[in-house]
Amino acid sequence: MFAAWASSFVRIPKGVWRSAARFGAGVALLLAIGVGAVFGVTYWLASRALFRSIDGAVVEQLELLSERPPEMLPFMITSRLHHRPAVLTQVSLFSADGSLIVGDLSYIPRGVRFDSKPRILAMPTADGGVLRLDVAARTVVGGRHLVVARDVERLVVFRETLMRILVAALAASAGLGMVAGTLYALRGQARLRRLGAAAERIMLGALDERLEVQRRPDATDELCIMVNRILDRLERLVGAWKNAGENIAHELRTPLTALRVQLERLREGGRLEERDRLTVVRSLRAIDGIRTLTSRLLRIAEIEHHGRARDFAEVDVAALLHEIGSDFTPLAEKAGITLGVQAGGPVVIRADRELLAEAVINLTENAIKYAGRGRHVVLRAQRSGGRIVLAVADDGPGIAPADREQVFHRFYRGRATQGTPGSGLGLALVASIATHHGFELRLADNAPGCRVELICPIREAI
């Protein structure tokens, strides 16, 4: 299960990773700012609460001593030294040149300013360590310096620990934000990609497909539910329309059969004058035209409406093209066209062989019909990237760019084809066969001529 989960990440495209990571970084930044703000305020409040009373005590002591008569100072300092260890504050009196007169501190710590304001200073100790002191100092009468300090080493260490915890928490929350944000974005993107894939299948004609909806619908799900309802309606309408089309085609055929049989009897009766006989023959031909038309319409409806996926098998399209090429060579020669096949080695795809043959034959017949005498028609199968491209190309007059979009639609016949017989359903049939297989059908300029391509994605062998 883990392997499946892990491999599901491996298959994610680079671009998706990148945008998910960007989202993750954004989440991390926001989280860091939030955590930083909360911890910063806490830190500031805690250190203020810790140091304010000490600062007060130090400054109070300094002011108290400086208000005494100057000559009393050395005595007061020494006398309070005797109260140790009860006295926490260290006091020293230095002469104007900085030498110690009396007190606990043997020298003036570096960085001291004589402004009566408390500050934290580091003082090297005799054993090579460092002592942190909250120090306040001022100059008293006679240019002498009075320094009051209190050991705050443990408080400073505590404050530093607090700082380290803050930094660690920031780093942890940023990292967590990054990972969680990325995963969330990936999940969202995976969902979007699934929706996109479903939409694409629907576009290709799978009208029974629906968009997924989560158990607890969010705004996107509301939209999906809406789209699904539209699809329900669309599917019903298209179904009804297709059924109507098929029914019409079916119901047409019974009277047509009667009509055809009667007309044949009339023709065979031998009592018709030549002119009337020709009329009957033309009528028979017209009925056969209707029959072909209904056959093709039904066939398109069948391919589009009823899945024939069960008939899918491995098909060597190279062999198929050679077979069709060989079958149609005499026909092409009769039309003055050179028919060639360019397809080497087995090129295997999964397809309904008969339908695929029908599509290629349709395109080949088209090319032979419209390319014109002296031209060339080529059936080609080649691998291109991860796809196999089947192409029927000619160097004939081609299809006007304005007509290209429409040639795959039912009953559409290009301006250039006017005057040539045809139902206008050939390419529509090819299009429905392509859709049925999930192939892309593309009309390209062969410069000169026309090239119709069936682009088949190679499905991974299972």
Partner: protein, 234 residues
Amino acid sequence: MGNPSGSGAVTRLLIVEDDAATAQGLREGLGARGFEISHADSVEAAEALVAAGGWDALIVDRMLPGQDGLFFVRGLRERGYTVPVLILTALDTVDDRILGLRAGGDDYLVKPFALGELVARIEALLRRPTMGLRPMLRAGSVELDLIGRVARRAERDLELLPREFQLLEYFVRREGQVVTPAMLLRDVWNYNFELRSNLVDVQLGRLRRKLDRPGERHLITNVRGVGFVFRADS
């Protein structure tokens, strides 16, 4: 034509078709070709006529009043009735075709059809092609080596392409029998769809040119408006 077996007996056909105009046309059209026709316009009538016996083939429409013709055919087959059945249908999807053959139909013709096509199909049903496992197939001066895939006429190698060989084999096995383009597409090419081009005619033209030398009798001839027939030279 209604007497393809050559035994002197008339071929008796039972048409099961509810559309009166079609039935009447078929009765006349097939009657004119020498068949003896009876007509039933419902399954009940058909059952009674089948029970009376003596039919060479049945032509059954799928859309009968109140019942699918396929059920009727399946019922016959379940009772061990082996007379060939040709199914007429307005439906021609793959599913319909498979259903029709599975129900016990021997062939399948989509409406509207040409009478000639119907007759050719009936005769094909009545005269099963020469099958057998022999490695050589002979018809007059034509000789087919089915293993070596070599065709000869009067000791002359015809140098046929694979498709041409298949075509000739199909004709030789149905000597004297009318073969339609639709039958060739279905049986030789395995295409169950209609072509817009006259592929069959052109391919046959090519085969004929290889088959007949100037001065030799044409072995495959056209049957106007219907198809082709192979007749061996004796």
